[in-house]
């Protein structure tokens, strides 16, 4: 999973180094874990930041939680997936839990939110088409639709994986993706 968005395969030396770092960190070496954190955090953070609708503080909390849980679980890591994929999974899980947790507090950007709770952002200006505008438009999507789109179209997850993670039916994941793309095109002013 996540194969379409994983970085290019690392060189053999990198694999050996990362394996050694993982084993050292699993044994309690925090310096080794710091290297792993600094290597992987930027990529995980990009995903969490998008899942959290560009809300920096929430994405940071999710990142912290993911790497805290990874530290606890690292002794069980056996390289059956890449470390990057595993960390991504933990990160996505932390971000989704963060969003679900907002439901109890009636946060407008919780995963249980429905359409229309978020203010429309004007992206039909002269700068439309830029990367920044795309990120801004993504952030305006309803949280659940946004999560499906980010995981499917950017992170390369399959619908059954998304459905499992978001606790929804596969058909719902497909419907949310269709809806998210339509909303995104509309907000970008791309009505083709």
């Amino acid at each position: 999973m996540l194969d379409t968005t994983m970085p290019a395969p690392p060189a053999a030396n990198d694999v050996v180094d990362e394996t050694a770092l993982v084993r050292a960190a699993a044994a309690g070496d925090t310096a080794a874990y710091e290297q792993l954190y600094r290597q992987h955090a930027p990529r995980v953070f990009a995903t969490l930041w998008r899942l959290c609708g560009g809300q920096q503080a929430r994405a940071e909390d999710a990142l912290q939680e993911a790497f805290l849980q990874a530290w606890k679980a690292l002794p069980g890591f056996r390289f059956e997936s890449s470390l990057s994929t595993w960390l991504h999974r933990l990160g996505v899980n932390a971000a989704l839990m963060e969003l679900r947790g907002r439901a109890a507090g009636h946060d407008h950007d919780s995963l249980d939110d429905v359409d229309g709770g978020l203010p429309e952002m004007a992206v039909h200006d002269g700068c439309a088409g830029t990367e920044r505008d795309l990120e801004r438009a993504l952030a305006t999507l309803p949280p659940r639709a946004r999560a499906v789109l980010v995981l499917h179209d950017i992170e390369g997850w399959k619908h059954h994986e998304i459905a499992g993670q978001l606790q929804m039916a596969v058909g719902s994941s497909k419907a949310q993706l269709h809806r998210a793309r339509g909303l995104l095109r509309a907000r970008l002013g791309d009505m083709t």
């Binding site: 968005t5 970085p7 084993r23 699993a26 044994a27 309690g28 925090t30 874990y33 710091e34 954190y37 600094r38 955090a41 930027p42 990529r43 953070f45 990009a46 930041w49 940071e60 990142l63 912290q64 939680e65 790497f67 805290l68 849980q69 530290w71 606890k72 679980a73 690292l74 002794p75 069980g76 890591f77 056996r78 390289f79 059956e80 997936s81 595993w86 999974r89 933990l90 899980n93 932390a94 989704l96 839990m97 679900r100 947790g101 109890a104 990367e131 795309l134 990120e135 789109l149 179209d153 950017i154 499992g164 793309r181 995104l184 095109r185 970008l188 791309d190 083709t192």
Partner: protein, 175 residues
């Protein structure tokens, strides 16, 4: 008739988004302050021994572990609260009731997963069980600490995810 796929351009733009984003400058400092120390003996099992374990051997671990987990979770779900209720002579708080419901949902979710886990996953799973136990104990002592509910939820979610991955590993699927 146009054959233009409206999703094509959008997907191309999404794929072109940067794959990395600068993590918080003080992220490591904050994280390192929260890392619990490793317990002695928590280091991993040698990899070569783990990955070559026969599938049947790995599957045998699941039943006793699952039974122990279910029993321990049931205990954690009940015992600390009863103790707190006895001590404080007060009914469970709303937070405790939410935690109780969450624990039950978690227990059912674990029970619904396919049988099978690999022994190399046990340290991590046990560690998460211990974390959940500690959180529940903390909730019993301070039933008005809402952040504990979030911690418990995240711990259960991670435990479920790892249990799912462990089951996949035991069945021969790559995780």
């Amino acid at each position: 008739m146009s054959t233009h796929d409206p999703d094509h351009d959008l997907l191309a733009r999404l794929h072109a988004l940067p794959v990395e984003r600068s993590a918080p400058a003080d992220g490591w400092e904050r994280l390192s302050a929260r890392l619990p120390p490793r317990e002695p003996g928590a280091a991993q099992v040698p990899l070569d021994k783990v990955v070559t374990l026969p599938l049947r051997t790995r599957r045998r671990w699941w039943l006793p572990v699952g039974a122990a987990l279910a029993a321990s979770l049931a205990l954690y779900a009940v015992a600390p609260w009863r103790h707190a209720a006895d001590t404080l002579s007060a009914p469970p708080s709303g937070l405790q009731l939410q935690a109780d419901a969450m624990t039950e949902q978690y227990r059912q979710a674990v029970a619904s997963l396919p049988d099978g886990t690999a022994p190399e996953w046990q340290p991590a799973l046990h560690e998460l069980d211990r974390s959940a136990e500690q959180i529940r104990a903390a909730m019993a002592q301070d039933p008005r600490a809402p952040h504990l509910l979030g911690q418990l939820k995240r711990t259960y979610a991670l435990r479920l995810e790892l249990t799912r991955q462990a089951a996949q590993a035991a069945s021969g699927l790559t995780t």
